[in-house]
């Protein structure tokens, strides 16, 4: 397992490096060079322009500039953003990256869980109107044009039903006299949710070692404690309503992204379950007299899960792209929106920084998916 991990990480670093080179070269290949933004002032004489370019190092060949950029980046200097002058790129990324990560993680976990659950149930109960209806809905959601779908969601939930805000990160009125920074509250929110998740995982793995009768009660009580503790923390911290506002604005983007992504998983899970149910060990499980639900959830689902995890590996890019579009539609200030805005105004350092972030996120997600797969399928751990 350890060798597998090392190899994967090494591969990832190499790929990431390749990615960096490509990104830099690509961005640099634009017609003219990015000094145009500084230097298109017609009042500058050609001679002054040349001196400026030299001092900015723009007359050097691409690879040399890339190496210099790389050196700077390794020390944490990604340049200064033109459009957010004078904030450094890294600063902007540090502010916005957690938001995109949260959006991505939540939407992914939700869509895959719901999709898997739905597909599992669908496979067990074949035929009939339900199967037909869900397949049609699934295909529809899978292929719908995301910007349009996002707009429809806003029309429905924000305008017509008035349940959610139209977009943006926070409601300025709520925050007018807030003693805290929105970003701080957000980070704290992420942290508490993350801790709660860790506790859940710990609870479930611990409860597996218990004797049969004790497992379910322990799980129920433990889950209850964690949830109550989470709410208690926020209620007592005095920041409760601010956190609630952030969550309120987060809801529709997550919902939209989840809906679009869950259908693919659902259809895949259904097919995968149908294949798995034909295997001999399912028959053996039935022969053991195990109830249908146990066979479905313990034996079939675990095996059917494997192709789904593989598909996640392929779908990471797709989800990230969806995130970019969702952020744009909802004007939700994450890295996706940042990338788009920076590209439109040709803020090169920001663009490169955003792409670097995207690359890191994609690779990490990929790596985690690989590890998850190895964890789930014991046959692959030793290759």
């Amino acid at each position: 397992m350890r060798r597998f991990l090392f190899r994967r990480i090494a591969q990832n670093i190499f790929t990431f490096f390749l990615f960096l080179v490509l990104v830099y070269v690509l961005v640099d290949a634009q017609p003219g060079d990015f000094s145009n933004v500084y230097l298109n002032d017609p009042r500058l004489s050609p001679k002054q322009r040349t001196i400026l370019r030299e001092s900015l190092g723009l007359d050097k060949p691409v690879m040399e500039r890339f190496v210099q950029w790389l050196g700077n980046a390794a020390q944490g200097d990604l340049g200064i953003s033109f459009s957010n002058y004078p904030r450094p790129v890294l600063d902007v990324i540090a502010e916005r990256a957690p938001r995109t990560i949260m959006l991505f993680l939540t939407a992914t976990i939700l869509s895959y869980s719901i999709g898997f659950l739905a597909g599992k149930i669908l496979a067990w109960r074949r035929g009939g109107f339900l199967e037909y209806a869900t397949t049609v809905t699934g295909v529809g959601l899978y292929t719908v044009f995301l910007p349009w779908f996002g707009l429809l969601m806003i029309w429905l939930f924000s305008f017509t039903l008035g349940l959610f805000p139209i977009g943006k990160f926070v409601d300025p009125i709520v925050w007018r006299r807030a003693p805290v920074e929105a970003n701080d509250v957000f980070l704290r929110l992420m942290l508490t949710i993350f801790l709660a998740s860790i506790l859940f995982i710990a609870l479930f793995s611990y409860s597996r070692r218990l004797n049969p009768g004790q497992r379910t009660p322990v799980r129920l009580v433990g889950s209850g404690i964690i949830i109550v503790a989470w709410f208690a923390y926020w209620a007592s911290s005095g920041m409760g309503k601010y956190a609630a506002d952030i969550l309120h604005h987060l809801f529709l983007p997550i919902l939209t992204l989840t809906l679009v992504n869950f259908a693919g998983t659902m259809l895949l899970t259904r097919n995968s379950m149908l294949e798995t149910l034909r295997e001999d060990y399912i028959m053996a499980a039935r022969a053991k007299g195990l109830p249908d639900q146990v066979i479905r959830d313990k034996h079939a689902a675990r095996n059917a899960l494997l192709p789904v995890v593989t598909s996640f590996v392929l779908a990471v890019a797709f989800v990230l792209d969806g995130g970019v579009i969702t952020e744009t539609i909802f004007s939700w200030p994450g890295m996706g929106l940042t990338l788009l805005e920076a590209a439109v105004v040709q803020d090169i350092p920001m663009v490169i920084g955003a792409l670097v972030f995207t690359g890191i996120l994609a690779l990490t997600a990929h790596l985690i998916a690989d590890i998850l797969y190895a964890f789930l399928d014991p046959r692959i751990r030793y290759t």
Partner: protein, 334 residues
Amino acid sequence: MAEITRPKPGTPLRPQLGRLGPQGEVQVIETPLWKIRLRLLWRSFQSNFKIFLENPIGLIGLAIILLFAFMAAIHPYLLENVWNRNVYDPVIGIDQTITFHPAPPSAQHLLGTDPLGRDVLSQLMFGTRAAFILGILAAFVTVTIATTVGALSAYYGGAIDTFFMRLADLIIMTPIISLLIVMSALFEIGFTHLAVIIGLLGGLGGATIIIKSQALTIKVRSYIEAARVAGGGNAHIIFNHIIPNLLPLSFLYMMFSVTSAIALEAVLSFFGLLNIRMSWGLMIFTTQRAGYLLDLSKWWLIFPAGLAITMLCAAFYLVGRALDEVVNPRLRKR
């Protein structure tokens, strides 16, 4: 005993079909090989089509595609003969009889007009043409590249294989839209450029991995050995044996490529990053520029365009799924 005549040494080997005549002599069948191949192709197409028809999903998809194709085909005719070009041209037309644009649907403008005074229905139909051309062009490029690269990787293996597979991994992991956003913002990307770029990225990406695995299973089949023993060279085997057997899978991938090409173009146009005269995505962008994006009362500005994109993408996807059942018999309903 039939007499076997040897061809003179040096003459190129050409396969000929013969049969035994009444006296045991060999009669060469004069029908050229290509005709026979064509007939076999037609027969297999017929039986595959029957399987395709069994699945309602494929039929629905096909019906939608034909509907849109009809719209695209009829549009030039309408512009020439039925409609007043000055008013109904999707790009530069303008209806000056109406004071306020965008105007709601009416008898003259079945889907209303957009903020610049252009007829929405006409735009929709013209956009169909753009979508088809872009989609098919990009899909064609994707499939050509993926099939060739897949076959070559499978056949030669080694460094070529590793290189292309790593490249494919890299492409799969990159979020395409983010990349295209950057590219189209920094470079001027037009219609054909976009098709080629999408085609290139698609062809070197996931499709090539799947086609390569299929090519691997073909490579180890006995008739490849037989062909090699009969003297076939590498090029001959690749182009006459491996690639024809990959074509069903390639065709399948064309469908999915069209879907992604149309969707990608729509998104990029929506962001206003493309240099295209008119497309569905551009219609939505124009709406946003004019500030009517969230204006429910002007639904005709966004609804038809978004619906069209969704439906055409879905249609190609459904056809692809139905074709999947033809190509992979295991997926068929029992």
